[in-house]
Amino acid sequence: MATPAPIRWDQQIQQRLARGEEAALGELYDQFSPMVHGLANRVLDSQSAAEQITREVFGHVWEHPGDFDPAQGSMRSWISTLTHRRAVERLRRTSGLPADGAGAGAPPESAGLEEEVLAAATAARVQYIVTSLPHALRETLTLTYFRGRTYQQAARELGIPEATAKHRMRLGLQLLATALATEQHR
């Protein structure tokens, strides 16, 4: 990949953004806009909404580069968190999905969703790891992450207790984190 060593790159780009270097903003956009736009578009299913989120996310990073804390994770992770939060907030605001779970959610996702999610993966490594998660975990992760459900709503739609939904989310991410860490240290 035309991607420089991540940690060093993260810190350099942060410093250059902090110095107000327009060229660094361009590099940041080129590196992460497919992820930001793709994630927002997947959650919101709207090009124009995805473009608006993309403007907001890069605007935020450009205005507040100091908010990125390398000790908390990678630049990619920070930007994907900013994107996901905004996209989910907007989805809950516009779709009438209540923020804390009373009321009926949309029908469960079509069987094709997971395949779509996986087809979107460009990194075969990540794709492999996500595919190899047990089905119940994967289903719960994708329903919440891409459909903006709270864990209570997800529990209702999947017909499982809330405690089970929470447990699956934590366990699924733990497995994913462990697999990613193993891969990255190879």
Binding site: R19, A24, L25, Y29, G38, F58, L141, L176
Partner: protein, 367 residues
């Protein structure tokens, strides 16, 4: 944080809060529970560490979409950012097309599959046609971009200067391209892409640092010298044309430059035309030096006066003819990607003068 340090939670409550970590990392907690957990994270190292780990893992659920954002979104997003916070170090206007075009080509390359990297792109210029694989196109772009890079003191990607035969047009371009194709053409495409991309980024970074006066730095192409502010517009132009060659070879759509960038490219071509027209005996014979009015239509619309018989415009230009042509078509002609005798153009006045200019324009192209 000014909140008082909380007493450690009783074990049962601690487990309940910990149980929210996965849902929180997926943004799937109601607001009050998120707030509760985030207060706890400020005081509990192990939970904070797990939170960061799970948050990072959640980020990997969103792999890049194969459908890239529209190219014009880039300038819209960057502009809206620069309104929110003024940059201290600008990308000079004359480097903006290069920054945008290299990003657009890189996005195309990101989508190429292994078999597409094996296709050969047809890259015509006025002296012939090159048949290059995408990685070889990148070697060529890297070789010529290197003229600008070395002018600013960047390391030359061409190691060990190749012998340049004297008197051959474009000898330096050809020799440097051949050297890079020989050295890197057989490497993994991603490695060649990284080589090219690193230099493009370093260039945009460096010309930003050089400041407004940096545009005057002379860039030596071997056959001629032009100021960097023209050279980078030229590099953007060639990047677009060759990217389009690659896109045609793999049957992908490819967007032309934005209107302001296209206008900069047309302006450079219009200013350079007298050099390729120069010295040709004018059809006007001994009459006063002739001038042609070039009218560009389309998003980059504008007008230029082109002296046909001299490097400079006469003091009181009186055009002998007008040529009306679409901006994109004009660029393709200047890149020798169109037949000058079959161009859809509008004209008025001296037909010979119009033909002269149309036939000269492809001479702006090079290998």
């Amino acid at each position: 944080m000014t909140a008082p340090v909380a007493a450690p939670l009783p074990p049962a409550e601690h487990e309940a809060v910990r149980g929210l970590l996965g849902a929180w990392a997926l943004d799937a907690c109601p607001a009050d529970e998120s707030a509760l957990l985030e207060r706890h994270l400020a005081d509990c190292g192990p939970c904070a560490a797990e939170a960061a780990r799970l948050r990072d893992a959640a980020g990997w659920l969103s792999a890049d979409e194969p459908l890239d954002p529209a190219p014009e979104l880039r300038s819209q997003v960057l502009e809206s950012c620069l309104v929110r916070r003024a940059p201290l170090l600008r990308v000079p206007d004359w480097a903006a097309p290069y920054s945008a075009e290299t990003a657009k080509l890189d996005a195309l390359l990101r989508d190429l599959g292994p078999s597409e990297w094996l296709e050969r792109a047809e890259a015509p210029w006025h002296g012939g046609t090159e048949y290059w694989r995408p990685a070889e196109v990148l070697c060529h772009l890297t070789a010529v971009d290197g003229f600008v890079g070395t002018a600013y003191g960047l390391a030359d990607p061409v190691g060990g200067l190749p012998d340049v035969p004297a008197g051959t047009p474009w000898a330096a371009v050809t020799a440097r391209t051949a050297w890079l194709i020989d050295a890197h053409g057989g490497r993994a495409p991603e490695a060649v892409r990284a080589l090219w991309r690193e230099q493009t980024r370093a260039l945009v970074h460096t010309v930003s640092l050089a400041g407004p006066a940096g545009g005057e730095v002379p860039v030596d192409y071997g056959d001629f010298r032009i100021p960097a502010q023209d050279a980078l517009v030229d590099r953007a132009f060639e990047c677009w044309i060759h990217a389009d060659d690659v896109a045609r070879a793999v049957d992908y759509p490819y967007e032309p430059p934005s209107a302001p960038h296209l206008r900069q490219m047309i302006d450079l071509a219009a200013r350079t035309l007298p050099a390729v027209l120069g010295g040709r005996p004018g059809a006007g014979g001994e009459g006063p030096p002739r001038v042609l009015r070039l009218v560009i239509e389309g998003p980059a619309a504008g007008e230029w006066l082109i002296p046909l018989d001299a490097p400079e415009l006469p003091g009181d230009p009186d055009p002998v003819a007008s040529l009306v042509v679409d901006g994109l078509e004009f660029c393709c002609l200047a890149a020798a990607h169109r037949d000058p005798d079959r161009m859809p153009v509008g004209q008025d006045g001296d037909a010979a003068a119009v033909r002269e200019l149309l036939r000269a324009a492809p001479l702006l192209s090079r290998p």
